[in-house]
Amino acid sequence: MTATHPPRRRFLRTLVAGMLALPLVLGACGGDDSGGDDGKTELSFFWWGGEARAELTAKALDLYTAKHPDVTFKKTWQANQGYFDKLATLTAGDDAPDIFQIDDNFLSEYATRNVTLDLTSYQSDGKLDTTKFPEGLWKYGVVDGKLAGLAFGENTQGLVYNKSKLEAAKQPLPKTGMSWEEHIAWAQKAGPATGLAGTQDPSADYKAFWVWLRQQGKEMYNGNQLGFTAADVQAWFELWKGARDGKATPSADVIHEGNQTDITKQLVVTNKALTSWVWANQMPELQKNTKDELGVVAYPGDASKQWPRASMYFSVFRGTEHKDIAVDVINFLANDPEAGKILGTDRGLPSNLDVRASVAASTDNASMKQTIAAIDELSKNYGPSPSVPPRGHSTVRSELIKAAEEAQYGRATPAQAAEQFFAASQAAVSR
């Protein structure tokens, strides 16, 4: 800004800059600053989830305090509604929590804007131990060459199906390794036999589209660019238009319900289709919402194109005054066997494979066992992971839903919808 600006604008700018900068200046004298003379440190810790997760997390953090009596935590949790709004607002006020939970929809947004602490140096000098992690998993936290978040929990794409209904109708269960065409053909037969729609149409589901793309030798993203063309999208939309025309899927309005990510809206739970396209670690929660028994397999096609996705991460705020302690805390949560046992598979399978093995051995929750077994099975043939989605990813996701639904409702041809999605997502990632 130079002095050539009209006075009013300068006035405003000064005012705004002053307002925004003041907290930084005053920050030093804030009352909630920890690390005073008594050597005590209080770290703020923020996550989303339900009541069960809150209990586990509190317990694990208390364990840390028991081992390090000088470190206590200000724990804040809420459901995912409003979580990122609040996190963004706190960040804007330079008041972000010292440690916060984040997922791959937002990791790049935060990392590229320098909100997260780069954990690379802690990793290389062993203060943050990822040696027991699957390699693809911790790498899924690297943004622009910096380790922006510690993968906390692994999951992978899972096709969940209604086992009870299929067995009652003497229909074959879906198997890992079926091709997409075989899957659709299966749904065409199994649907009428069970009286439910065959398979949820996943054309609006970015993770299904992504797996399918990788099986075609493409990627969702190459760095900050799209890794596919409009023609790829069109082929994907046409595949599912064929399925819809062949009555392998429910009608568009029902598909729309299942296009929401809420666990309770998944068609396999609401009994409106035999399958849902979810993350494998959501199995236990899905199971709670239905009386039928569920099963889980890989998405159709070459299962080695699926990858160990970090179901969420813990990141450290770059502006924290206690970087080393904060890193030590997340290291503890990820690698300490006792903490691992407390946290279980609530955030996905434990990243540390030793911890994971001991959790698997000690749990008596049937669907948790099945999930661990399923992901372990799938993880045997994982290929290389893609990099974490770039900025704009959440817009790309919602644009895919919009375009796919245009095609599902018959308001656009697959070609038109593909064109629309491609243009919109290109704009989103290049912003």
């Binding site: 307002m19 925004l20 003041l22 907290p23 005053l26 804030g30 009352g31 909630d32 703020s44 923020f46 989303w48 989830g49 339900g50 009541e51 069960a52 997760r53 809150a54 209990e55 509190a58 200000k74 804040t76 949790w77 809420q78 459901a79 995912n80 509604q81 409003g82 709004d85 609040k86 963004a88 607002t89 706190l90 804007a92 006020g93 330079d94 008041d95 929401q260 990510t261 809420d262 666990i263 309770t264 809206k265 739970v269 609401t270 009994n271 959501q282 929660e285 709670k288 919402n289 239905t290 009386k291």
Partner: protein, 273 residues
Amino acid sequence: MRRSVVLVVLTAIVLYPLVWMLGSSLKAPQEVLNNMSVWPQEFTPGNYTDGWSHFDVVFGRFFLNSAMVAALTVVANCVSCLLAAYAFARLRFRLRGFWFAIMIGTLLLPGHVLIVPQFVMFKTFGWVGGDWPYAPLIVPQLLATEAFFVFLMVQFMRGVPRELDDAAKIDGCTAYGVFRHVILPLSRPALVSTAIFSFIWTWNDFFRQLVYLSDLEKYTAPVALTLFIDSSGQSAVGPMFAMSVLSLAPVFLFFVAFQRMLVEGINTTGLKG
């Protein structure tokens, strides 16, 4: 007779969704989303006890917090908006029209772009966090920032005939005297409506309370209600419905108790004209 038939039918239509909610609060978890009928197949009153003690802090605590914020807001709004409204409705001063237009203008800006600047500002003031994190929710109300209520009271006061002011002035009253002896006594209906509305709005406000409250013990009912459902993971739909129903009860009673004051208060005003 026809009137009461219409009334009953209308009540049935308007109440149906609420009855549905009540029914859902008594359904088993797998039922809430799949059983479309009002009646639960599996009667589950346990949702209420489960919801009440679902978190480390009992739900009553959230109601108390909400009630405290709501009560303070009510008092703050009534006092501050009444003063401003009296000035706008009755007094003459330079730039009155200008300020009135500005006040209406503040109603128009979508709130979502104000959240971040406001947070930054309140943080600067040192109001964020601490042992009593409610300051950002209440202090603005003390300063009549809720233009809705100022406008509401202006409209009510304009129903009070000028002759009363003039008579009081002839008797030697100043602007303060008129306020004290004429406007204040006649403003009961406006105050009661303001009380009803600010109570209810505070009871429902989610976003601002979400941003400023970070301690489970300090959460208010609307913030706590969202804790039941984490759409990406665990949810407790039945207890959520149960506590939603419970959260309606105090507001409903509050309203039924106060509405008579509202309606009768105005009637008195009318007669005096």
